[in-house]
Amino acid sequence: MADMMDKVKSIIVDKLGVDEAEVTPEASFKDDLGADSLDIVELVMELEEEFDMEISDEDAEKITSVGEVLNYIQSQQK
């Protein structure tokens, strides 16, 4: 879990150019981390690659915060 959080965090920091401290579970990609729609597409692609899974566009649209990403990855890995 901690390992997963670290990986997700580093992807977000890298792709969105934000400080690590800003990447909290509550943080909204759009409102808190300044991501636009293309940033989110890129982020989803990176997560797919890192965690070796496919995220459908439908699911991707529901993921709006860091916490939701963590939950989603966990649910897929069960």
């Binding site: 150019g17 934000v18 293309l38 890129e42 692609m45 690659e49």
Partner: protein, 412 residues
Amino acid sequence: MKHRVVITGMGAITSLGHDLDLFWENLINGKSGISLIEHMDTADYNTKIAASIKDFDPLDYVEKKDARKMDRFVHFAEAAAQKALKHAELKVGEQSIPERTGVIIGSGIGGLQTLEKQHEILMTKGPKRVSPFLIPMMIANMASGSVSIHTGAKGPNTTVVTACATGSNAIGESFRTIERGDADVMICGGAEATITPIGMAGFCSMRAMSTRNDEPEKASRPFDVHRDGFVMGEGAGVLILESLEHAVKRGANIIAEVIGYGMSGDAHHMTDPDPDGAARAMKNAIADAEISVSDVDYINAHGTSTPVGDLSEIKGIKSAFGEHAQHVAVSSTKSMTGHLLGGAGGIETIICALTLQHQQIAPTMNVDEQDPSCDLDVVPNQMREQGVEVALSNSFGFGGHNATIILKKYDE
């Protein structure tokens, strides 16, 4: 009524420096920005040299999160635009009205580096891994788009893509935009970043570039009998053009006046130039400036150092200038900067403005044995102190695009 147009700011990112004073000092002293390519493996390339920019950090100009969504040519454009605005002491929204401030910064090729990287991802990982930023990063108009986003310039915004004539066309079209009253201020010029594996390979295959790899600083030798091709450069040159009224009203420092712009098409061949096309662009610019050929003191030649191109330009100058061709100083600063393709017109218009400002002419370097067919005053190897009232810059691009810009020392 046509508005008079003046230059009030300039910014250049070049292999000879990112600061105008240093850039000029290097040009006047005949320094070369050309060296062996270090950032990519050139083992299988016939040409292993370029005028690369080595000491440049985009984060000095744009935020990290923005920088990673920009191709290198946009990094250069952003940096040069910021420098030019600073030089002009102009902040869009403070010294100019956003809706009356426009941008035309061209690129001959666009985001080649981005395209190459993403194509590799397409081939190795498949289409679903291609970056959503590929398209916005590679399109050649993004320099204009990006600079408007970061400066707040909301006026006319477009681009020009005419290969190696791009920068001059961008400046010429900006000149017209102000002249006819569509804007007060234009941020304009050209940017290029194509010293990439496929960019180098493409020009190598054309046999267009010098292979003098053992003497990089001597490789670009326009008008010399042993010239064997151009040397690729990269970077950007951006100018702030302003209507004279606007510049005077805000008390801007006026560097030079833009007095003429001429264009022509060769209607001849994809890559081979036609001297007649070059001559007509120069004649059109001279007519537009309402001067006579004998008023022109200096020509900053396109002079790329290719055997065919230099000769064609010399013939064009002779045809356009007649007897005065023997009296006008003609130098090619590409002997030092390399050829910035779409960025060339940008930095070379800046060089013309610096020529008027300093009353010095930068030399054509490496003219060890002047080609007898290029028998004009090419200011060989040594700068010259000379009064210059009017300077002309030529740019010619594949496709047969010819563009000429004429600057004059500012006089009320």
